[in-house]
Amino acid sequence: MKSMGGSQRSRFFLASAFTIFWAAGAWSAAVWAAPASAARAIILDDSGTEALDSVVALHWKSIAPSRSANGNLMVGTATFRVRINVAPWLKRNARIYLMLPLQEPGPLSVSWTTQGKLLPGQLQSGSRTLVYSGAITRPFLEDEVTFQFNVNGAQVARPFPVNFQFVMDE
């Protein structure tokens, strides 16, 4: 069964690669037809991104609470080796955003530092922040990004996933 799974994965990546070239042409056509104000966010292929920490351990920012129950912030850090496939936009200028969609269990904020290829920043769930602006000179944008998560401890009681996406305005 293992080898079968591996074979399926290979086919998926192959299909994705073809998709990118094919889709780039389609997007170009769409931009032609649509007015400039009707920008559409394209979710970028970041399937090469790896988590260096499989689980982010959250800890109380302050071990003791406040008198008013407002000191419930929990924090945790995690590092990812980010790899974004930008081959379809080679030799073009691009603005790439990190997006944190609204998701369960509730609002959270995150800040991050980078090794310099991407921009450091911060954002709240339900928003996005610019992480790259400029010419695409390589097929992949790669950087090591360390995130710090800030979560209301009153909202979380068990492990939960937080999903990010890199997007580009068409």
């Binding site: 998709t19 492990p159 999903n163």
Partner: protein
């Protein structure tokens, strides 16, 4: 063949493109903490300056010597403590006054929207006893509750000890700092045998 692969790819971007993105799994790790202080306690610094709670094994006493001329006159005798705890470890505020008051405070940390408060209970012996075997019921000791700058009800209200058993002396909501100052007194009714009577009350905090 190449065309077939391209078509397959086109289908995939429509169906699979939104699956891109990466996921971090956040785990509220070992977040539960409880802290109870009756009398003196220990923090590395005030909480608002990053202080962390520490263990303190000190057992403080509350006592009173009743003058022979006042014995049994019906006037409650205010007790004093050897506790030196006057300041709140939350911010250093001088909250209690010694030797008249005993500080009691604490908190419990837990994740999620907890609805069950932590209970603080006192385990009380049946009586105070002296070396001769004489006894005084523990219910002769009562306390009132206050705190510098406080108004309204206290989180650890006043009460009277039971004669042997466990009684609740306060509750704490999760993720809040709670504190009060207790002033103990001895009901001065009747004339017991002369002696030095003592007993130990154990305070316990139980968090859900």
């Amino acid at each position: 063949m190449q065309l077939r692969q391209r078509i397959l790819g086109a289908v995939c971007i429509a169906a699979c493109g939104s699956a891109w993105g990466f996921t971090a799994t956040l785990n509220p790790a070992s977040p539960q903490t409880i802290y109870l202080q009756v009398g003196v306690g220990s923090f590395t610094n005030d909480y608002i300056y990053g202080g962390q709670p520490e263990r303190n094994a000190t057992i403080n006493s509350v006592s009173v010597s009743v003058a022979a001329t006042a014995l049994g006159n019906g006037t409650a005798q205010t007790m004093t403590t050897n506790s030196t705890a006057t300041q709140s470890y939350w911010d250093g505020y001088t909250y209690c006054s010694v030797p008249g008051q005993v500080y009691i405070g604490g908190f419990f940390r837990t994740t999620g929207a907890s609805t069950s408060p932590a209970q603080v209970s006192a385990t009380v012996p049946a009586a105070l006893t002296d070396a001769s075997g004489d006894s005084l019921p523990f219910s002769r000791i009562s306390w009132t509750s206050s705190g510098n700058g406080d108004s309204g009800s206290e989180i650890f209200p006043g009460g009277t000890f039971v004669n042997g058993g466990t009684q609740t002396v306060g509750t704490m909501s999760s993720n809040t700092w709670n504190e009060s100052c207790w002033t103990f007194s001895l009901a001065n009714n009747g004339i017991p045998a002369a002696g030095s009577y003592s007993g130990t009350v154990l305070y316990t905090m139980t968090a859900p």
